[in-house]
Symmetry: C2
Subunit: 305 residues, 2 copies
Amino acid sequence: MTEVVVALDVGGTVMKCGLVSRAGELRHAERHPTNAAAGGAAVVDTILGVAAGLADTARAQGLTPVAAGLAVPGVVDEEHGVAVWAANVGFRDVPLRKLVSDRLGLPAALGHDVRAGGVAEARLGAGTGQRHVLFVAIGTGIAAAHVVDGRAFAGAHGAAGEVGHVVVRPGGPQCGCGQRGCLEAVASASALARRYTDLAGVALSAAEVAAAAAGGDPLAVRAWDEVVDALADGLTIAQTLFDPAVIVIGGGLAEAGAQLLEPLGAGLRARLTFQREPALVRAALGDAAGCLGAGLLGGDALEAA
Amino acid sequence: MTEVVVALDVGGTVMKCGLVSRAGELRHAERHPTNAAAGGAAVVDTILGVAAGLADTARAQGLTPVAAGLAVPGVVDEEHGVAVWAANVGFRDVPLRKLVSDRLGLPAALGHDVRAGGVAEARLGAGTGQRHVLFVAIGTGIAAAHVVDGRAFAGAHGAAGEVGHVVVRPGGPQCGCGQRGCLEAVASASALARRYTDLAGVALSAAEVAAAAAGGDPLAVRAWDEVVDALADGLTIAQTLFDPAVIVIGGGLAEAGAQLLEPLGAGLRARLTFQREPALVRAALGDAAGCLGAGLLGGDALEAA
């Protein structure tokens, strides 16, 4: 009987769920609306129901569910298995690990979504074979996971790796966090779209701005170059503090591929002095990284149990 | 027979050496000039001679030398025990761990000076009892050691924790590393002294500027406040990425005590938004931290042997 981990990556709008083999293969995948508008308690009910359903699905397919893994956004106390705070899904001190473990009768792990994605990229994706990996997700927000020997560092309060809130433009645009000039406020996908609207007076999505920049639209090129410059500043700081061998870029903005990675690599190279240059690569697992990472964390919990 | 580790902290001008008990007590201390002007090979000879002498001293005192630990500056490959590069003592790819181990016939460890100091502060000093400690040494330069569960992270290339080379003043003063506006270029003890000289046209040491600022000299107050502001920016970035429970401030500038820590703590508090505030404390071990840390690393090597 093939052993699988019940894995859920809970996002603000959708839960990416599946059954992950102990070797890290996604044996079954399904998606469910998070329906965050219904409130945190309802989201928890949905999670427990989906997890139980996945365990049933596993058995129906002749697979053996042996553990569960959850990845959630916000501030996550991984050691105690508590979703401390997540505005977009309404969590506040929810002991999710115990709730899922009790419901399924299996060992469970709770992880942070970006750190889970980083663990998956480090063990199964673009960081495979490297001991020191920094995974940076650039989407609506920007966050990083520092992964050494396949384990992500959560910090003392579950808040490590928040590279999106490193100030790279002192006195710059207001960030949602309350600070000014954070990397996220000037270089996230949302910031790219905002900046283009400011410059051109026309609202485009980040992907549309990227396409317009690739096509030579001068204002789109300007907005894109500003974003790349700020990202190079932010990654230089991360390299200086974490010294990874490889930086893996994921999230929506990574869809731009070489259009992003080539100038970003050049910008990073130009800024590093004594620091060693990391390999800069695009994430390999796409939006399955969080679910795969949740599966890996569930497997780790099983081994530790 | 009490077991001790032969411990050497090799600095640019002086080697702080001693015998460290397995419990982390300094049982014997001595200092030797590094005499870096004689070149890297001569420094290595001195290190080997001093280490052998310390082992003899241990035996003469009825102690049993069981391992050796060295802390050196620059880029250090701790995994392979190689001093990769250190301009101020002339090291270039020196396999110091093997040289010392062969000379003494004991297991040995090679560590980075600031990381060794951080390990000592975390296990024996101001970070005792905390799992997540960031040690920041502010002297001629600025560097940090990120210590989790008593172990310091070296990074993929032995260059992690270089918080002195995080850019906090884009386009600011030239740094020795080649970049502009690095924290070290605006907030080290040397930068404080330079800034006062720029403002006042009078050369004072950093300690003299600190004293003048405490006494109300307006230009000294201005230089001091600028340094504290830049340090608060740098520590905020470090907190955002590492999320330690405690930040331990060491190095020459920490001698200022509350004059530094009080405004620095206030500046950090004012900058943090969602991040959790770390305790901010002064280093407890003074300039013995590197030697004690070298002793602890030697003990770790013995346990791993």
